[in-house]
Amino acid sequence: MGNFGDAFLNAEVLTKYAPSILEGVYVTVLLSILIVLSGTALGLALAALRSLAPAAVRIVVVVFADIFRALPPLVLILIAYFGLPSVGVFLSSFLVLFLILTLVLAAFAEEIFWAGITSVPKGQWEAARSTGLRPAQTLVWIVLPQAVRLAIPPLTNRAIAVTKMTALGTVIGVSDILNQATTAQSFSGNASPLLLAAIAYVAIFLPLVILSRWLETRFAWKRV
């Protein structure tokens, strides 16, 4: 047990590397917030586009969403990180991670919002159109408010899953929590930074996981 404590809870190592892990926390949290905001907004815009635009545009949206849902994010990250510079696009690893995870979340969010939109009864569209509302107005004022409510629980789960993937940034050198921890671990030859990193992730994401549980009961799908 003494050995175990020394390997995982070494006070000296912990004090030494806590600040850099805290920097990692800042990077992880910042990235997560940016990804959730832009990914959700983009997903909502794409779902709206899919319900209003002509067939050709709809197909493009569906193909985009399918590809970004079917491919492992790490594959996408590596393609963008290693490939883009050769075609003259130079992005920092932070930006690459932000961009890819935003697109991944947008793809899932689009599907979730779309499922919400299609679950709104046809009669809602008809009632709104019969009072002279245009399709876009009907979508914004009648359909989306109902669709978004249905979308909140699955979207929360998906947002947590995608923001957790910020840890993949380690592979391309984003200085997130995991990266800071693995660096500290190899310098110190001690596992304490890894444990600290795990604790940091749990501290960030556990409240969100609990929130998602609460949302699921609160906004439970009422299957009639």
Binding site: F8, L74, V75, L178
Partner: protein, 221 residues
Amino acid sequence: MEAFVDQFLNLEIMVAAWPTILQGLGVTLLLCAVVVPLGLAGGLLTALAALSRRRWLRWPIVALIDFFRAIPPLVLLIFVYAGLPFAGLRLDPFAAVALAFLLNNSAYYGEIFRAGIGSVAHGQMEAARSTGLSHAKAMVYVILPQAVRNVLPDLVSNTVEVVKLTSLASVVSLSEMLHAAQLARSVTYNTSPIVLAAVIYLAILWPVVRLVSRYERRLAS
């Protein structure tokens, strides 16, 4: 445009990388064949424990589920692979991936099974018990078949996620498909091998993703 094709869609490089990537695909499939059944079994046990009437069993299980849902899979994997040796447990990459995935997937599959069991009407259990079936038998023959059918799309979706996650094994140098593609990339300084791997992932997973979307839409309407 030419630079783009040369960098991402270089056929010559893809052909050269093909045997390596195919080998990697074999490892990926083997990995899936191990971690998916493990996760399903772990998930089912987790769900049954989380629904148990015994509080001392239920609460720790729910806490564990949430813990493993909160921790990124890659962090868990690196902890198991690089951290546990400090506690005297040294696993080879394959075993480390299998263990990390068991912990992570049991939580996710467990939540799905739990929702499925919860979606079966209470009367079903009562009816089964009234015919003399034991609780366990009623669970196996009456509740679970309905539960699985109710959450089949979610189970399939999560399995897609698991297959995608196997790519993380490349980080601990397990020679699965992405690792093989990365190796080919580092030799050729060209992204085409990873694109080839992406195409293979797409060929396997796209049909499943489409199927689930269509199935869910049918349920919704």
